[in-house]
Amino acid sequence: MRKPVHLSLALCLPCVLAAAACASAGGTGASAGPVGIVQIAAYTGDQAFEAQFADSIDYPGLYAVTQAGGVLGRKVTLIQVDTRSDPADALTAMGKTLATSSGISGVLGPDSTSAATLVPLLNNRHLPMMITAGEAAYDRSSYAYLWRNVPPDPANGEAIALWAKRQGYASVATVFGTDTGSQGDLPGVVAGVKAVGIKLADQENLTPDQPSYRSAAERLLAARPAAIITESDGPTAATFFGELRQLGSLVPIIGTSGTPSYSYFTPLRGAIGGPSFMRYFRAVVVGNPVVNPAVTAFNAAVLGVQGKLAKPVSQWENNSFSESGYDAIITLALAMDAAHSTDGSVYNRFIMRVTAPGPGKQVVYTYAAGKAALAAGHQIQYVGASGPLLFDGYHNSFGSQAVEEFPANAGAVVVGTITQAQVQALG
């Protein structure tokens, strides 16, 4: 019985030393070294798909800032915090990063998994955060340092419902995977469908990656919906819609903004065939694809860092989610420049100042232009690759949403638009 005690103590010692060593490091805010931007995402675990989206934001954003000479003459570095798809691990990872990294100035994230756990902490540490968490709870957030420039999950669902109403569908069915990413968008769809008065004929929740969904497909066909609203991962969609086609016939399919991606389209196209895909599939995406110099800059940045992004690189060009994140980085950097400080408690209020429209403000589309204009003493409004960032009183900004179709060998083609006002009118 003695031996294990000694062994345990012996193993304790290195840890205590490590902890002591770490205690000397750490700290946030203004110092003379590089400016740290933290990216919180799930790099491992169930939601590890977030990692490639995070990369498509971080590397182009940092590239653009670095090319223009950094922030306040200092280099900007990326600090990745892995939530491991688990709030408990997110907390320790964030705590460890805060303790051991110096010069943290801003945060991208937290995501849906870690938001409840990390938002209070980051707010307390006066770290401006551009969250990607879609929970409606943050629509009216009281956290001063929380900013969101992506629509909350319900907004996309409500936009889809409005589009369905416009198309004249009398009834719809929902087909959603039970994975976290897909389920997050379902409540908004259901609420939106009810609000516009369309009948919800059937709801199918698919366990991802099953060998067959024939039972679900049969039930859906029996309910005879005029259209299907869907989000799931690619393989699940391929299996389900492939079987639906075999068992009966396809109806118009409306994908949420979580669907347009290479890993979704390829299996689905393969399963139902190119012509059917083109004929039936539409997606309602957040971020009306704008054409402005910011988009050009973003695409150039993507190409500039293509070695670090998931292949094929073309999926990131004009990707509205990536563009929002890229704009978030540019906004943080410009706010720091405008405030002449990397300390969150100082530059936080400049975030609104560099993005809100106003008389006499110079409109800029790139970080370089914004930095130069600020240096020349002008006030600026940054209009990003996802459009203008119009933060309301609760620090939320989301723009119009676009309905897109996807012809073969071409990118997305916009066939309709739903504005923020229309969505908010639904309540």
Partner: protein
């Protein structure tokens, strides 16, 4: 740094509770509870759904049962009861007199099936998205504390609970009940002949352990303000097993040290290593390390788990 340390302290006490529960069930009772983490999850979900407000139906962003907005400390009581209730249900069909390896496999399968159920029946506890926004206990009353101050207060609170549970567990261990339980583990037939009821004793140990796990879950969910299936994968049970094997099965203090070694040191130190390979590679390899550590423990420090030598049939050429 103080934030990091206080977080680790809370996790340490929460994990120590799990270790004592498993020690009671497996170390003293001989029950191979490979579904341990499920009971912690039951407590966590219970605490979450009774301290959250109503979910307001299909339009809200979370769907779950109950939603009773109970104030502290009632959610913890509910969590404890939930863990015990689940243990009662599971125990009543899996604690029959059955080969231990079958029992282990069945408990493991129950854990996997329940994970599947929770993920797919979204209205229960919001499926794979989990629950978020769980109110932190006494945050109104303690609002004068700083953020870090609250962390340390919570760590102190979990320490108090851990101390109370330790006293309970230690008393149970040295009581006639504890001795009877170990007697049943060692020789069920002999124990039955002297009037002990093996099934009943094991069920009691299982339920008490379940209650402790439920309490542990409630504490953790209220600390994290959220809870989702990612937090209770089947592999988490094995971190606890490793802790008690390393620290000394059956030894109440030993498993505390084992928890410190495994849950705190072994799983946190690698995060300080410089990044190798892709982000998260080292984290992903942690379970590989746990499995390897387990094999090493079983090989060199069996601690009474592995009895006398036996012949191995495939080596007959040498005999």
């Amino acid at each position: 740094m103080s934030f990091y340390i206080s977080t680790l302290l809370v996790y340490f006490f929460v994990d120590a509770l799990l270790a004592w529960a498993l020690n009671m069930q497996f170390g003293w009772g001989g029950i191979p509870n490979f579904a341990l983490i499920m009971f912690q999850a039951a407590g966590a979900y219970a605490a979450a759904v009774v301290s959250l407000g109503p979910d307001t139906g299909a339009g809200a962003f979370q769907r779950y049962v109950f939603g009773s907005s109970l104030p502290f400390p009632l959610p913890l009581v509910v969590a404890t009861l939930a863990g015990g209730l689940l243990a009662l249900i599971v125990g009543s069909f899996s604690l029959r007199r059955i080969r231990r390896d079958y029992q282990a496999a069945i408990l493991l399968i129950v854990s996997l099936i329940v994970t599947g159920l929770v993920t797919n029946v979204v209205g229960l506890v919001n499926g794979s998205n989990g629950l978020t926004g769980v109110p932190r206990p006494l945050s109104g009353v303690l609002s004068r504390l700083t953020y870090d101050g609250y962390q340390w207060a919570y760590a102190a609170w979990t320490a108090v609970i851990a101390a109370a549970v330790y006293l309970l567990v230690a008393r149970l261990g040295s009581s006639p009940w504890g001795r009877a339980l170990r007697a049943v583990r060692d020789n069920e037939d002999a124990a039955a002949t002297i009037g002990l009821n093996p099934v009943s004793l094991r069920l009691q140990a299982f339920v008490i352990g379940g209650m402790i796990c439920g309490l542990s879950g409630g504490l953790l969910a209220e600390f994290l303000a959220s809870w989702s299936p990612a937090a209770w994968g089947y592999a988490e049970t094995f971190a606890v097993f490793t802790a008690i094997i390393l620290g000394g099965v059956g030894n109440t203090w030993g498993v505390v040290l084992g928890t410190l070694l495994v849950q705190v040191i072994f799983l946190q130190v690698p995060t300080f290593l410089p990044q190798v390979g892709y982000t998260g590679l080292i984290d992903a390899l942690q379970w590989v390390l746990i499995g390897s550590l387990w094999l090493v423990c079983l090989a060199i420090r069996p601690r009474g788990l592995i009895p006398a030598r036996r012949p191995v049939v495939s080596r007959e050429a040498r005999r």
